[in-house]
């Protein structure tokens, strides 16, 4: 598998970046972090928009930057979606999309223009001027424009951050479609764990210019050090398929590696469809014995693999492996001590709520 190798090291009094990572040239890699964590700077360095002296960058073995050489941005086979759409105001939608297309020499046609336009649903607005578009439409056009240059790597810098919740919901499905239908690797910078869990295959977590964790999504999401950082949002992502749709109770059954989960049917589910769910640690409780007559439907048994301190002094994070999956539960120290939980204990977990993403 090809990799993007990036080594950047720079330090200012108020900011530094110290990165040495390999990113797979495949799927969506989310770069998650707070503002000031260096995630955007890393993306800009990869695009060649920012320059770090003595940095190194290669894409699938092809060197884009070393001590002696810097490939200028316009010669790198990438697409870039900025936080704001930044459409060219003097060009209409089609001309905006055509801007990069005209300047692209390598027409290896991974995707063609019609496909892009269809994928992003901008057929009806091609002759409009940017000032006549809604925020969501603008961002979709910006994505189409970035894709039209046939990039071998798509970089997205918080493409949803400038949109309100409603518009986010409008654009997000298109991003998921990109993910599902295109073979282009995407680096996706965000500060929203929600977006990460909905889109990413791989995750890089950054803090103060350093990479905290780096790897496949669910693994990284529950990795050491991260829980503290993710605060309230700590949780896990479980992928599975729809095994049954129960029309009587309006529930669907998700089969995953380790068991089943029942979740309310949102009436968009199709049998055997792949789905992704997010389970937040505070919604997971632990019992030593199998609970009986409980209102909570989803209960699973497994083994404690790790116990970590939470950000809050009175709480702990308990990692339980169930089949091939890991669940995280947040408990008070008191509760944990009363149950006398230790690693390798067999326990039951109860899950209060599951969100389908």
């Amino acid at each position: 598998m090809d990799n993007i190798e990036a080594r950047f090291n720079l330090s200012f009094s108020n900011f530094n970046l110290d990165v040495n990572i390999k990113i797979p040239c495949q799927g969506v890699t989310a770069i998650l972090g707070h503002s000031g964590s260096g995630k955007t700077t890393l993306l800009r360095c990869i695009a060649g928009l920012d320059y770090v002296k003595n940095g190194f960058l290669s894409y699938g073995g092809e060197v884009w930057q070393n001590e002696k050489f810097l490939l200028p941005t316009n010669k790198r086979p990438l697409g870039y979606v900025f936080q704001e759409a930044h459409l060219f105001p003097h060009l209409n939608v089609l001309e905006n999309i055509g801007y990069g297309l005209k300047r692209t020499k390598t027409l290896n046609e991974v995707i063609n223009l019609d496909q892009i336009i269809g994928l992003l649903g901008i057929n009806g607005i091609l002759t409009r001027r940017p000032e006549k578009l809604s925020g969501g439409e603008k961002q979709r056009v910006a994505i189409a424009r970035a894709l039209a240059v046939n990039p071998r790597l798509l970089l997205m810098d918080e493409p949803l951050a400038s949109l309100d919740t409603k518009l986010k919901q409008e654009v997000l499905p298109y991003l998921q479609k990109l993910h599902n239908e295109l073979k282009i690797p995407i680096l996706y910078v965000t500060h929203s764990p929600q977006e990460v869990s909905q889109l990413a295959d791989y995750l890089i977590v950054m803090k103060s210019g350093k990479v905290l964790a780096n790897g496949p999504l669910s693994e990284t999401f529950s990795k050491t050090g991260l829980p503290v950082y993710l605060g309230d949002e700590i949780g896990v992502i479980i992928e599975g398929i729809i095994g049954e749709i129960d029309t009587k109770w309006n529930l669907v059954r998700i089969d995953f590696d380790g068991g089943i989960l029942w979740v309310p049917d949102n009436e968009q589910m199709i049998l055997n469809q792949k789905v992704r769910t997010r389970i937040i640690a505070r919604d997971v409780s632990i019992a030593k014995k199998e609970p009986e007559k409980c209102s909570i439907q989803n209960k699973l048994s497994g083994k404690i693999v790790q116990i970590l301190n939470d950000q809050h002094k009175g709480k702990l994070l308990i990692y339980v492996s169930i089949g091939g999956s890991v669940f995280v539960s947040r408990l008070t120290r008191k509760a944990s001590s009363e149950l006398a939980l230790t690693v390798d204990d067999h326990v039951w977990v109860q899950i209060k709520s599951v969100a389908i993403l």
């Binding site: 695009a47 060649g48 928009l49 200028p72 941005t73 316009n74 010669k75 990438l78 697409g79 870039y80 900025f82 704001e84 930044h86 060219f88 105001p89 003097h90 801007y99 990069g100 300047r103 692209t104 424009r145 970035a146 240059v149 970089l155």
Partner: protein, 225 residues
Amino acid sequence: MLLDDNDIQTICLTLKLASITTIILLIIGTLLAWWLTHSKRKWKKIINAIVALPLVLPPSVLGFYLLLAMGPNGFVGKITNALGISPLPFTFSGLVVASVLYSLPFMVQPLNNAFESIGKRPLEVAATLRASPLDAFFSVILPMALPGYLTASILTFAHTVGEFGVVLMIGGNIPGKTRVSSVQIYDHVEALEYAAAHRLALVMVIFSFLVLLALYIWNPKSKKE
């Protein structure tokens, strides 16, 4: 006829001077304004102040120093002499050089504002869309800065048409070469030919009004509002 041949000659000369000055300043002004917008050097503030100086200096003072500088003993004069160019005072080229300096802020400042408000981002966007910096300048920045260019060109043109003190100091008032309309009006007034002065002044007022009117009608910025 409203104007006599001499007056028409001065008008043609004035328009020629203003056009050439505007064209030269479009190039110099773009480079300078671009540098001022994007340079991070601390001493660019000094350059900024120097560019704005002609706004403050009385034109006669500027003209006097240009006369000294361009003269055979001045440093510009020594350079032109070494290059085998005849001295600039009392020549049309000299007027062009002086007008370029005198009207510099009228070109640079609106362009600087336009570039500032466009910012760096469109250039970055263009770069990610395979456009080289030069390509990006012409295909993105130029169209985006068009209202700024329009304002800058009209201001420069109009300001050069209205230039008087500097021309009087270094032009030598030579018919067909350096006698522009503003000087001609002044001469009419000084010679107590008020009627002739009124006529020429009226033509200039109407001309300037039409130019400015065109600016306000055509400027896309004002249209949007």
